[in-house]
Every structure is written in structure tokens, then in C-alpha cells.
Amino acid sequence: MTTSANWPVAASGGKPQADVTVEPNGPVACAEASLVNSARTVVGTVLEDAGFLVRPDGALFVVLHRPVDRPPSGLLTVCSSLFAEQHTDYRREVCLARLLASAGVAVARFHYRSLGNSAPGPASLDAFTQDALDVTQAAQRLTSASRVAFLGVGVGSLVASRAWLAHPDAPLLLWKPVIDGAQYFRNLFRARLIAATRARGPRPAATDELLAKLVDEGHADVMGFTVTASLYASLVASRLTETLPGQPRRILLQPFRGARATSVERLAADWRARGCLVDLQPVKLAEDPWYIPDGAAVAASVHDTEEQFMANARDWLLSSWESGE
């Protein structure tokens, strides 16, 4: 994996609208790093720029959080989860970004290509990893942050761990990591049945039929989300245990209570055996295996437990960077 995106980008200098002209399908016609069509606000002590990162692969929606009063001490790129889980995690990631930025760390959050507010494009694990690397490179230029870290949330752990390999000194944080892509989809398809029952709808197609539809039509509907064949094929063959760092690295695993947590201990042991410094901090929050958006685990407000585990992540990241110097 390379950080090959050398597209030129433009300076915003805090303007609510960018003074740049971008040709469709072409590179940005100016010379410095920026988000285009962006807006800026201050939330407490955090400066936030939301806008679009334009590149030949299609524009990505990016939000950059940083301290308002000082240069950031480093940059964390957040690789979010997908589908319904992304919705339930969204606010938690915004809260983490604001917490870290108020502690002096810049945070780059983005929507993968073809999702959310980003431009359409072919989705796959490789493509999403490239998105994460492009965002990291642009955010580094914008913030002048030399130190980088990655956070993977849920199935975004597979994206973050691959992007992380391109940054040999970066720490890696994983929240409720998906360790096996195939197992992730098995659980997602099972959740589909629960969702249909809850909605009193007809019983959805069996998994075999769904997979056949993926092959025939190139996409399938899973609880109101379009899963493309390319994304499915790339994720289902991916496992976190196959992420092999070339040298000892610092890793924080924060599993939630639930099915995924059972494999995390083994993953930690694997990585430790390869010389990585792995910290395992189980979180007293439940995974939401059925993606039902009304339980306490997925409430929009941030609860005490969430604040605590986010604070732990912040402290771990700051100490990782300090010990790496």
C-alpha cells in the first residue's frame, strides 16, 4: 500500500468557502493542501473544518478537528465502521475527535468513497484503505502534524490496520474490532433476519440467495444498506490476524462486550508474539449485534462509560507518542 495521492490541494486559511476552481474529473487547480467547499466552526476549544478532499478517485467528505489555540501534537485518522453500525458509532467518533482535539491532537474523520457525503466510486477494502491514506496525507499537510495514529472502529479495523502498515511509527487503536471479515458478514446477515422480524416484514431471502444476488446483480440490500459485490468479496477474505507489522508496534485493543470480544485475546497474543506492544482494555459497553437503534448502547448522548473509555484511548495515544520519541 502506498500513499500515492499527489494531487494538488488548495489553501483555505480559515475561509468559509474555498477560493479554488476544480475541474470535473481533474486535479485541483491550486498548489496547497486544503478541503474545498469547506466551512469552519469552533466547538469549545476545538477548531473544525468540514469539506471535500478532491482527488482523481473522487471527492471525500472530511472533517478535521484540531486545537484552536496551538499546533497539534499529532494526528489520528478515524476509519469508521460500515452500514448500520456506522450510524450508531457516528456521534461517539465525533465526541472522541473533540476530546482529543481539546487535548492537543488533530483528528481526521471522513466518509469512505460511495458512502455518506462522499462522491460515488467503486467500494472495496483496498479502495477504502487508499481513502484513509489520502485523508491522512492531506490532514498531515494541513496540520503540519508529524506523528500519526489510526483508529479502526468495528469493520473499519480492517481498513485502519492496512493503512497503519504504510506508517511504520504509527500506533493503532481498535474499538470493538472485527477480526474476521467472513464472521462479520455472517453476523450481519443474521441481524437482517432479526430486523425483518422486528419490522413485521416478510422473511428476507436466505443467505445463499443473497450471495447469489450479489454475484448476479453486483449488489444486495442488507437492512437498507447497499452491499456491493466488490466490497463484500474484499472484506470477506480479510482477517486482522493477517496484518503483519514489519517491526514491533504499539496497539490498543478496546473490545466491547459481545461476540467479537472472544477472539480479541487470541489476536492480542498473536501480535504480542510478533513483538508488538499490545494493551487490551475491555470496555463495559455492549456491542449492538442487531443494529437496533434504540438501545442504551447506541444512545446519541455520551454516557459515563463512553467518556471513560475515550479518555483511556486519549491517554494511551498521548503516552504512546511520548514513549516513541
Binding site: A50, H87, G116, G201, F225
Partner: protein
């Protein structure tokens, strides 16, 4: 202000991130505009509240915005305070911050040059949209996608004082004084409520049932406690707006209306008054939560069609 940059591979729309001031909170929004030949209609996309963000499920709001732009129609999608990228904490209320948020988003869309607004409210998002929309004269129509017009359980219902406040307020009184259709609806509604109340009291007297006794649950439609935002909906319908309620056959929010005789009667009354003003669309399946991609596409087509109707232009193949 300089021209915003094209950020997508298509050359049919421009997307710009915005922050809007809403009281003490800052809202995040995305403004999508056509590259050329825009109409005077703007579409505001209001998501369902907690656990949602500006793009909505499966990027449905994003998709609608871009397809509207192909039809020359600009749009704005935004995050309520406490959701998505906005500041603050989300509060599920029929007034206060959510209404302020929708008002701020409407004002922002008007400030881009739109003269008329079509509001699309998903689930809870429809409620503050109606409350905010009734106070202004630039709303041409609303499409409410599975709005919770009857709340589950008594805890979610408005108190008597709140419901009184819905009716006895300045805009309502002004509408009674100036709008004949609304006045007729209001007086008929008032008479109906008085009749219902009197009937209940008479039955209690006849059966000697203590007033404090809880009525026994029964099968079928119950008297119910009525419909939320009934007065606001009525004002919008009677003043010539196009209001479309969209439900799925298995939506809980539809089942609650059907199970609440008072709410069903209220809706029937409104439809009888202005059949073209209050349109009732029911899809087969579950619309609530947009948990079906095929239904999402049907909804997108419905919204595009209604928006084009309001502009007087036929939809193009691109949209």
C-alpha cells in the same frame, strides 16, 4: 463569495459544507446546488434525529440531493443539534431546539436564493419541520416520511397545557382571524372536541364510573389521546400547502394512528376538508427507518416527482 468548486465527478451539482447558527448551537449542513438553470424551489431534507447524520441511511438524502440538482433544484441536508457533526446534545422535543434547528436550516436555504421550500421530514424530523413551517409563509409543501403523529404510551404525549398552547397562540389566532378555511376547520374541531368531552362525561354519569378510574383496555381502535401537531398540520393544509404523509403498511407509526380513533378522525377531517392538500401514501412494507433499498428508491422517485410538480417542470431521465 467565490464560486464553490465542483467536488464530484459529475458536472451537474456543487456541494458545499456549511455551519449554521441555531440558537447557541452550531449545525452542520451540506448545500447541494445545480450547476445551471436552478429553480426558485429549494428542498430541505430533515433526518430522523438520534443515530442519524446528514446523509441519512444508505446515503438516501445525499442521493436525493444530487438527483434534485440534476432537475435544477437546490437542497440542504443538515444535522440536528447533538447529532452528526453539529454541536450540543440531542433532545427529543416538539418545541425548542429541534424547531430552532429546522428554522435555521430553512433560513439558510432561503438565503441561497430559494423563494419556496419543500420540506422532507423523516420520522421524528417531520414533527419540528411542521412546527417550524407553520410559522412562515414560504413553505410550498411537506413530505413527512412515517412521522410519529401518535406517540407510544402516555409518557410521550403532550400535556393538556402543551396541547392548549398549540391551539391558543398568536399564529393560530391570526389564522383564525384571517383564513376562512382554517377558521371553519378550527370551529369544527372545537365543536367535535367539546362533543367528545361532553359524551364522556355523560357516560360516566350514566354508569357512575369514578372519574379517576382507568378505562379498561379493549380491542380495536381506542378513543386515544389524539394526534401530535394536529393544529399545525391543519393550518398548513388549510393555507394551501401540499402535505403528503408517507407510511409503510408495517410501520409502527401507522399502526398507532390506526389504533387511535381520535387521531384517525382528525386526519380524516383534514382530508375531507382539502383532499388535494393532504395526501396519504402507503407503500407496501416498512418505510420507517428506510430499511429497504427498493423502498428507498420508490421514496426518492416520489420526492423527485413532487419537487418537479412544484417547479412545473417534468422530471428528466437524469434525475
Amino acid at each position: 463569495m467565490s464560486s464553490p468548486a465542483l467536488v464530484a465527478s459529475a458536472d451537474t451539482y456543487l456541494e458545499t459544507a456549511r455551519y449554521l447558527q441555531s440558537g447557541t448551537e452550531t449545525l452542520f449542513a451540506v448545500y447541494t446546488s445545480p450547476v445551471s438553470a436552478r429553480t426558485d424551489l429549494g428542498v430541505l431534507l430533515v433526518h430522523s434525529g438520534p443515530n442519524n447524520f446528514s446523509a441519512h441511511r444508505n446515503g438516501v438524502w445525499t442521493d436525493i440531493s444530487r438527483r434534485l440538482a440534476c432537475e435544477g433544484i437546490p437542497s440542504l441536508r443538515f444535522d440536528f443539534a447533538g447529532t452528526g457533526e453539529s454541536s450540543g446534545e440531542f433532545v427529543l422535543r416538539l418545541d425548542g431546539q429541534p424547531v430552532t434547528d429546522v428554522t435555521a436550516a430553512m433560513d439558510a436555504l432561503r438565503a441561497t436564493g430559494c423563494r419556496r421550500l419543500l420540506i422532507i421530514g423523516s420520522c421524528f424530523g417531520g414533527i419540528p419541520s411542521v412546527v417550524a413551517g407553520v410559522a412562515r409563509g414560504d413553505v410550498a409543501g411537506m413530505i413527512l416520511v412515517s412521522p410519529p403523529l401518535v406517540m407510544p404510551g402516555a409518557g410521550g404525549m403532550a400535556s393538556f397545557r402543551e396541547r392548549l398552547g398549540e391551539v391558543i397562540n398568536r399564529p393560530a389566532l391570526r389564522a383564525i382571524a384571517t383564513n376562512r378555511e382554517y377558521r371553519r376547520w378550527f370551529l369544527a374541531r372545537f365543536a367535535s372536541l367539546a362533543w367528545t368531552r361532553a359524551t364522556i362525561q355523560l357516560r360516566r354519569l350514566a354508569s357512575r364510573t369514578p372519574a379517576s378510574r382507568t378505562p379498561e383496555p379493549s380491542a380495536g381502535a381506542r378513543p386515544g389521546r389524539g394526534m401530535l401537531i394536529e393544529s399545525e398540520l391543519a393550518r398548513l393544509v388549510m393555507t394551501g400547502n401540499h402535505i403528503e404523509l408517507v407510511y409503510g403498511t408495517s410501520d409502527d407509526n401507522l399502526v398507532r394512528i390506526e389504533g387511535d380513533a381520535e387521531a384517525s378522525r382528525s386526519l380524516r377531517r383534514l382530508r375531507d376538508r382539502r383532499p388535494a392538500g393532504l395526501v396519504w401514501t402507503v407503500f407496501d412494507g416498512a418505510v420507517h427507518g428506510l430499511e429497504d433499498v427498493a423502498l428507498q428508491e420508490q421514496l426518492i422517485r416520489l420526492i423527485l416527482g413532487r419537487a418537479c410538480d412544484l417547479t412545473g417542470r417534468p422530471p428528466t431521465a437524469a434525475g
